[in-house]
Symmetry: C2
Subunit: 297 residues, 2 copies
């Protein structure tokens, strides 16, 4: 079986043996946004070239309106069974290829929310982790707080953590406040700035005020310009963690270094947390869905 994580900006493929071990992994910057309509079969051909790919299961934005085939969202509460029932096949000459559905829910104020790909990571994490999990937080461009109840995704909230960080760094006065990185790094000062940013998220005044404080603290000499990036990152991660009153122990799924930053921030805020690598969660989740599909015949 081949497991595919096809997101907005990256295409990742994993060749698995019968027991679910990863034999080979490939990654290309051919995310959904960079594939032209009709170009998906060829992009899949290319990334599995030379592999025995008679069975391919994909998750992520490949199932969105901009992807290969729009696969309808499954509504919360969404269990693994419902996800498996929502899988749709696509026409691919190389073998059987299928795409997992996303999940949708409404928040406490009846505003809709959506995910595509993270639901697979949630079920992967549950399959991998025999220990207790209070809440799950998926760290990234659009972070997700996920409530799991009785083995199903009961609800979730998305937070624009990573995207807000990136656009403010690249395009706002906060980016101009940050020096350009030619100054030597000071790991201790960066860590202190990150922690200070995380702690800031506890304060009153709101995020829009806290953001300006990153500028003012540099202006007043309290933080070095080159550490403002860590301060901003800590602040946004702190706000994200505190936005949902997560239950400990918090499982943080994400790219390894990012997940460790989130877990460290949670610990600073008094919430026990453990990181889990996103690719491990994705592969385990696609295997779990594939097994359900195979058992069903």
């Amino acid at each position: 079986m081949i497991a595919i994580d096809w997101g907005t900006s990256q295409l990742r493929a994993y060749r698995l043996d019968g027991a679910g071990a990863v034999l080979d992994a490939r990654e290309r910057p051919e995310g959904v946004l960079s594939v032209s309509p009709g170009g998906f079969p060829a992009a899949l051909d290319a990334i599995v070239a030379g592999w025995d790919a008679d069975r391919v299961l994909m998750s992520g934005m490949v199932g969105s309106r901009q992807g290969w085939l729009e696969v309808p969202y499954v509504a919360c509460p969404a269990g693994l069974d419902a996800i498996a029932r929502g899988v749709r096949s696509v026409a691919w000459h190389g073998g059987t290829a299928a795409i997992c559905p996303g999940v949708t829910c409404y928040d406490a104020d009846r505003v809709p929310d959506v995910m595509r790909g993270e639901e697979v990571q949630v079920f992967g994490a549950l399959a991998l982790d025999a220990g207790a999990v209070g809440s799950i937080l998926i760290a990234g461009t659009h972070s997700k707080h996920i409530r799991v109840e009785q083995g199903a995704i009961a609800g979730f909230t998305t937070h624009m953590t990573g995207e807000v960080f990136a656009v403010l760094k690249a395009h706002s006065i906060l980016g101009r406040t940050m020096e350009d990185g030619t100054a030597p790094r000071d790991i201790i000062a960066e860590a202190a700035a990150f922690e200070s940013g995380v702690e800031r998220a506890r304060n009153a005044g709101g995020l829009l005020h806290h953001l300006f404080g990153a500028r003012a603290r540099v202006l007043m000499g309290e933080i070095a310009g080159r550490d403002a990036r860590s301060y901003l990152s800590g602040m946004l991660i702190g706000h994200t963690i505190l936005a949902a009153a997560p239950q400990a122990p918090l499982l943080v799924i994400g790219a390894p270094i990012l997940a460790e930053h989130y877990a460290a921030a949670a610990a600073m805020l008094g919430i026990e947390a453990h990181p889990l690598a996103a690719d491990r969660a994705t592969v385990a989740g696609l295997i779990a869905i594939d097994r359900l599909l195979q058992n069903r015949g």
Copy 2:
């Protein structure tokens, strides 16, 4: 007397008669960021050309490190007297030219904050408005909630309202969600989206979650793409207003249409509010400071 409002992106000049009436006004896109070091006297020459300019009083970023002369901040509580004492003269062959200081304070959590130019608007508003003022909110790129006590600026908080709106619209997925404006405008739908965004600021979940909701609501067909801009604007203004528990009646100072939007948003949130045009407030404030300086001789 000539009153000058010299900000980051704009240079505005007002020629006043002895009673403080505006005889003539000029504006150029020659903000502090676009004037080269040493170029300030010539830029001032150009904008007052042909005017009787023996006395010029300036406020705004012209007094910052990137401006003509760095004028030290006055610490809160800052009264009109303290502002006047902080005014510094600059060498200008055309006559006497001087620059007002900015104001600094610490918020409740000992994080510094700064303003340059808004303090003049506050004293202008107090000079203009004989009625009761509960709180003052200056609307803009970096909005300011200002607490006035016994005629002095007791404290304030800055909120990156306008800048966050601009960078998200131009550079984030929320901008891509907004259609490009070739669709005909629907004023009623835009107003409804704005109000819905303002109301969203009352909800739990935090701004980073509310931001993603703008995307999800368009994706699920609840808001038209072309109205997402108004929804986002209302949300950020609502968060800004609620960040400081302002006291009614709230005086909103800003560019006329923007101040009206803020005042409307405050009303939606149950806070009586009145708009005041920023240029009126600036001119009245510079006049008040000039009178103090003249009386002092």
